[in-house]
């Protein structure tokens, strides 16, 4: 497979896709499959599927620091390192060097980036959930932010489309709060988890389901056709899956687009601005800077998809100034860069489990349990905060690591900690963040990066709603663990978590009905520049509490379908 198809000398294409990550990949796939010649531009280095997964098959002892983060790496990847483990030897090469790509924090923001082929799809958590009906309706009902210009039914067929292609495992749980989709066989729950799930339903009427992830449990013919195989249950997904069982842009969308022979790709190429023609009131192409040579050139297309990642997509719009758009392309509403949302995490509870001591697991499950939102849902009404959260977590048998906390040393100690310990169980919340125009990023007026592009300034923080919700996330998790009869319950609420750490940053070019208060229309078109589409997380008008990638991919496929039909009608 050759990803570096020769770039056309005329620099002219039907479509340009900026970014090769979760949504850039999907945009390129959809557009090429519908007959368009597409140029995909990635700012980072080229990663070749399988070939470049350097750490994928390494044994634990082949890592000098055994998965821990060395200080020099922590300093180079300072933002990434706030997560705790991303800058380690196993996965560090799929995260961006923050020292070379700094940003400004007026208020602390954890901006975790992945500048390479496939972007963050190379190490995403793979949890894949549909939004529910209320997620699209809540803004309007509650007077928060702006109303979504679409509803669940507009997106439902595109969810199915994305689920089929990606390959999501899970059960049909028949829950309004977590709509079912097209699923491959689900992964199993373990015995203490089944006990927990049954008890929660019986005592609290709360469903606890097995997670739905983008790992192939049973590849379908269209997966195998792309060279993707069954999950081997190593749970080393973030190193790059050599079996292609994990969905990434690199294992799925890019090979599919490549097979059409209509995809060209540029790596190490930073898009600095979108070019706008005052006469036609349309974008004509993009200006780019070669990451290494700093050579500037231009590429042209009929339509442009911006999929650079929510923050970079907004930065690109802000940096694309013209007479028509003095404040940045499509920024008539002054909403570009505002309303940063994420999911807040690092809060929950864990406990130890008595019993089930004969049960162990063969293999490692790259998945967890999911407890769908139950707050402010159905008859539940919270007075302290709006919206809700979901939990991810599960049970595992403790291993030798428990020895650190245990008294003793010597032969008996060694023998004891080598044997399987008790089961532990824990759940961490992923909470919805409300849109707030004062949570924003903008371009610094003076400071520029190594390529002369204005640096991004973050000025955003969790609000009272999020902070109040966090208390309940910890307490409710403890209550559920207690109700299940588990012992040694411990809650946590990590104080050092900021917006961004969920790596679900979104909202900086929101969709809406009114061009005065939103950036994109119901087909992800920039209101006042119809041949520019934004289909990454920037488009989001609210955040729900479920993991966002599946929704981004569904929005992307829907927008691509619309764009091509408009081109056919000569509307673009």
């Amino acid at each position: 497979m050759n990803l570096n198809l020769v770039v056309d000398k005329t620099h002219r294409y039907n479509a340009i896709v900026v970014g090769s990550g979760m949504t850039g990949g999907m945009a390129a796939k959809e557009l090429t499959e519908k007959g368009l010649h597409v140029l995909m531009i990635e700012r980072g280095r080229e990663v070749k599927h399988i070939e470049d997964y350097d750490t994928a098959m390494k044994a634990p002892w082949e890592f000098a620091y055994r998965g821990k983060v060395p200080v020099h790496s922590a300093e180079e990847l300072w933002a990434n390192n706030r997560f705790g483990t991303l800058a380690n030897e196993e996965t560090g090469s799929f995260f961006t060097n923050d020292k070379h790509n700094p940003y400004i924090e007026k208020r602390p923001f954890d901006w975790i980036r992945a500048y390479h082929t496939g972007g963050k799809s190379m190490h995403w958590g793979r949890q894949s959930y549909r939004w529910n009906r209320q997620d699209f309706e809540a803004n309007a009902k509650e007077g928060i932010g702006v109303d979504w210009p679409i509803r669940y039914d507009d997106l439902a067929p595109w969810y199915t489309h994305a689920e089929k292609f990606v390959g999501i495992n899970g059960n049909k749980d028949n829950l309004e709060v977590l709509p079912d989709g097209f699923f491959l066989p689900a992964m199993p729950m373990y015995s203490p988890e089944r006990h927990f799930s049954q008890t929660m339903m019986k005592k609290l009427n709360r469903p606890v389901v097995i997670g739905r992830t983008a790992n192939l449990t049973k590849p379908q013919p269209w997966h195998t056709a792309l060279g993707r195989a069954t999950c081997q249950y190593r749970s080393k997904c973030a190193r790059g899956c050599p079996y292609g069982a994990v969905y990434s842009s690199l294992s799925g969308a890019i090979p599919a687009a490549t097979q059409t022979r209509r995809l060209s790709m540029l790596h190490d190429t930073i898009v600095s601005e979108v070019l706008f023609d005052e006469k036609t009131q349309k974008a004509t192409g993009v200006r780019v800077i070669n990451q290494h040579t700093r050579e500037v050139s231009e590429y042209f297309a009929d339509i442009i998809f911006l999929n650079a990642g929510s923050m970079n997509t907004a930065a690109l719009l802000l940096n694309s100034k013209s007479n028509r758009f003095p404040d940045g392309l499509g920024n008539d509403s002054d909403q570009v860069g505002r309303n940063i949302m994420d999911h807040h995490l690092g809060v929950g509870a864990n406990a130890s489990v008595e019993g089930f001591e004969d049960d162990i697991v063969y293999g490692q499950r790259p998945n967890a349990l999911y407890i769908p939102r139950f707050r402010n849902w159905a008859n539940d009404k919270q007075t302290e905060y709006m919206r809700g959260f979901g939990y991810q977590g599960g049970a595992s048998r403790s291993d030798w690591k428990r020895g650190v906390a245990q008294d003793g040393f010597g032969a008996d100690f060694k023998k004891q900690i080598t044997q399987p310990g008790k089961w532990n169980i824990g759940f961490g919340g992923f909470g919805e963040v409300l849109p707030n125009p004062d949570n924003r990023m903008y371009l610094d007026a003076e400071k520029t990066d190594s390529w002369g592009i204005p640096m991004i300034v973050f000025d955003a923080a969790f609000g009272e709603n999020e902070l109040a919700m966090r208390k309940d996330i910890a307490n409710s998790a403890a209550e559920m663990l207690e109700a299940a009869g588990f012992k040694n319950i411990n809650t946590y609420n990590r104080p050092e978590v900021h917006l961004g750490l969920g790596i679900h940053e979104m909202g900086t070019a929101r969709m809406g009905k009114d061009p005065k208060t939103s950036v994109l229309n119901k087909y992800n078109q920039v209101h006042a520049c119809k041949n520019v589409f934004v289909t990454d997380g920037a488009a989001m008008a609210s955040s729900s509490c479920v993991n966002p990638s599946l929704t981004y991919m569904a929005l992307t496929a829907r927008a691509a379908d619309f764009a091509v039909s408009e081109m056919k009608k000569k509307n673009l």
Binding site: P70, F83, Y362, A411, I503
Partner: protein, 202 residues
């Protein structure tokens, strides 16, 4: 304090999950970044190495399976301290070795050494209270520790114990002798534990 809050915050004495060392000093926004001094090289002398090796082997001795020495743990500990920890831990680790040296640790009988380390462990638990260690998780259910940052580095015994266990149970010798190593399980299933069955490692 209401009942919900009362069931939280169980104190962990030596720590719970395995620590991510650089979490102790990670944030370029936080004050501890001021302690940064990458230029200081951490290196043990021969006497210090002997003490580290002796303590590591006492934590994980050779039994019917190899011990810490055979698994290369002492070198690993030195590497980790040099590259993954900063000056506060370098200082506290050196202080701990000095304490053992002053007490004539290496010349003591095995019973005396054992007794000494038992007392060191008890003292360490007292010292660790200041760190208010909590277990937590981030993202996909990964165990982490939340440790209240202190100006002083983590105590010697805590560092020795966690690095010995990490070094041993992730070494080829340690994994192959202690566990059933299955790098490519190929399937996922619940099984019943048989008598004397080894745990799986991946």
């Amino acid at each position: 304090m209401n009942r919900r809050e009362a069931i939280s915050h169980v104190a962990l004495l030596l720590g719970g999950a395995f620590s991510a060392p650089t979490l102790l000093a990670m944030d370029h926004l936080e004050s501890r970044a001021a302690v940064k001094n990458a230029t200081v090289v951490f290196e043990l002398n021969e006497m210090q190495r002997k003490i580290v090796a002796e303590v590591a082997e006492m934590i994980i001795p050779k039994t019917d399976t190899p011990g810490a020495l055979e698994a290369g743990v002492p070198d690993f500990i030195e590497l980790m301290l040099k590259d993954c920890y900063r000056q506060p831990e370098h200082i506290s680790f050196n202080e701990g070795i000095q304490q053992l040296k002053t007490a004539g640790f290496l010349t003591k009988s095995l019973a005396e050494k054992t007794d000494f380390l038992r007392r060191l462990e008890e003292d360490t638990k007292e010292m660790m209270k200041a760190y208010q260690v909590q277990q937590s998780k981030m993202g996909d259910n990964e165990d982490q520790e939340l440790i209240k940052v202190q100006a002083k580095g983590l105590p010697f015994w805590r560092l020795m114990k966690e690095l010995t266990l990490l070094g041993y149970f992730t070494s080829e010798v340690g994994i192959r002798s202690s566990f059933d190593y299955v790098p490519i399980p190929g399937k996922l299933e619940e099984v019943k534990l048989k008598p004397n069955q080894k745990m799986y490692a991946y």
